[in-house]
Symmetry: C2
Subunit: 361 residues, 2 copies
């Protein structure tokens, strides 16, 4: 509460002095495409030597894990963070990114377990990038995987995902029961109800991050138990009441470090953005049918849409132009081919697929 002069910290020494805290900045990219009606992200297989190298004898997980592509940020080379991302993604994978957007900066203590072994803090700036369908997969060991492999509970296109009732809600139930007292229990119950929409059937597609965070805190997700095991193994204490399950189980495929959290952030962001910015077109070819467009929106948002109403809204919004051409290979009546109408940006303040179904309710 000391009323210290605020600008004292502006002194040069405070910033450039000896005590300069060493933070290494890394850039993680969630590179998204949509192919065969599935939203896919680029992942690499990565040996979790974070643990393996430092304590091979402690018997912690050594098997390789999926990880998001990563590149260090070097201020000597890169003028801006965005350019840094584009640069190393292109260098490593040959992919030329279209839309690129900064997501969030993650710098929690122990987000990288190497910190426990004496490494410095590694801050990671998450990025979201979109590339067109049909872009050749990354070279090297990078592959495209459906993001639903990691978040199966986020795909409601074929109805309520079974994993919710089979694994997730029971796990959360357990966590609620394990609360220290009634008030905590009630708070936990509320939180589950809010994020998973257990009450009014109100599933909010945008709350991907909230849901993942909750699953992590509740120890339902494999990463939670893995990280806890790492802390214990390295001498940290753990007061947490996580269920004692094998570290590798849990809903969805796990990822290295906090990468699944970064993915969740990306999913939340793109689902939100869909409504008010024309980002879908970044994932579509130049000419497309309305059903193709609908399928991409559905893949990203994870919910089915009413076809006729989708047409009405998209056409009515002025987002697209009829090219006059048709796509004949539909298996039925040929579909008109449309293209994105860039001029709409000039006319409407928030052009996007503002479907009511996507607006939350």
């Amino acid at each position: 509460m000391s009323a210290r002069n605020v600008s004292s910290l502006f002194q040069r020494e405070a910033i450039f002095g000896e005590g300069r805290p060493a933070v290494v900045i890394g850039l993680n990219a969630v590179i998204i495409t949509v192919a065969e009606e599935e939203p896919r992200i680029l992942v690499v297989r990565r040996a979790d030597h974070a643990l393996a190298v430092d304590m091979p004898s402690r018997g912690l997980a050594e098997e390789p894990q999926d990880a998001l592509p990563f590149g260090p940020f070097d201020p000597q080379v890169h003028r801006t963070l965005d350019l840094g991302v584009r640069d190393w993604v292109e260098t490593q994978t040959g992919l030329s990114l279209g839309y690129v957007e900064q997501l969030y900066t993650f710098a929690d203590q122990y987000r990288d377990p190497r910190e426990l072994a004496g490494g410095g803090r590694v801050a990671s700036i998450g990025y979201l990038a979109l590339v067109h369908q049909g872009t050749p997969g990354g070279s090297g060991d990078a592959i495209w995987r459906s993001w639903h492999d990691y978040m199966p509970w986020e795909d409601w296109r074929d109805g309520r995902p079974a994993v919710l009732d089979e694994e997730i809600l029971p796990g959360l139930e357990h966590w609620i029961e394990a609360a220290p007292d009634a008030s905590h229990r009630s708070a936990r119950l509320d939180r589950v109800a809010i994020t998973f929409g257990t009450e009014a059937g109100a599933w909010d597609a945008e709350r991907v991050l909230d849901r993942y965070q909750l699953l992590y805190e509740a120890g339902v997700v494999a990463e939670a138990r893995r990280d806890r095991a790492a802390r214990i193994a390295l001498g940290g204490t753990s007061q947490e009441d996580l269920p004692d399950q094998p570290a590798q189980t849990g809903p969805g495929r796990s990822m290295a470090l906090d990468h699944r959290r970064i993915l969740a952030t990306a999913m939340s962001r793109i689902r939100g953005k869909l409504k008010y910015r024309p980002v879908v077109f970044e994932l579509l070819p130049a000419a497309f049918t309305l059903l193709q467009m609908q399928r991409v929106v559905e893949a990203l948002s994870g919910v089915r849409l009413h076809k006729q109403n989708f047409r009405r809204l998209v056409i009515g919004s002025g987002l697209v132009d009829d090219t006059g051409r048709v796509e004949a290979r539909t298996g039925g009546r040929p579909a008109a081919l449309f293209r994105f109408r860039r001029e709409v940006l000039r006319e409407r303040p928030a052009p996007g697929v503002g479907l009511p179904a996507l607006r939350g309710a």
Copy 2:
């Protein structure tokens, strides 16, 4: 395009090796409150010794500038970035922050001119924080100022801001004219039309950042010319076609470094958030009248709302509860006092002041 193995960069050396890029992380906070129907932010007066110290003889600006509160991030002390912000804000100003949210990480080259003088890159992570009305101002030299002092063109509550037609649009006009060729000119015209809504009178309150960025690029805002002057003075080259005006003029009050850009980011974020999250209540007392609530929303969004419809929506949304008490000092019929209904979080997926006027159109 070399198809290098992606995971090669995961090697420990790449991260912790000798060539570790030195990046200092600072935290800037946009601390917002609303008092007397004005949205206010906490600012400090700061001598721009960035330039003054390094080249006192070159005659560059030495007068103090407004700056956002700043604190270094020290990974040795702070477990998370959020905690870091709360900690130094409390230490320096005695303010206990309510809502805190990360905005964006800024790390452009030369965002801090000290870099030109040989300092390392200073990355800044911007934060948005809300504190209740009536919170005592910061101690030391921190003061509350209306954010419209810095962005006067964002306040449409009393009609179209005069500064738009008097200063901004002429300045942008000049920039459009100065384009190298017709296609650039057309692109610039489009961009102005989009961000400032010159076409259909479509002012999108959320595009605060787009507008500020455009003003900066067009050299309309004082910071653009200041930064350019600094680059030239320090030997950098400048090919830019910025108008030759005194560095200190331009619409709105200028700020140090890229702080006005960070403010613009905060304004965009909160205006967007207002629609789907109950953030207004962070700025209101426990019990409030609907008009008080409306005034806070108007102050933040910069637009006037229809009173009866505001009531209808807020009450209908279940966001508030009647306390049964009344506020008598209204100057007219006493107004019912309401309080925030926290349970709404459990019921609705996206509770917020989702007024149509705030939805863009």
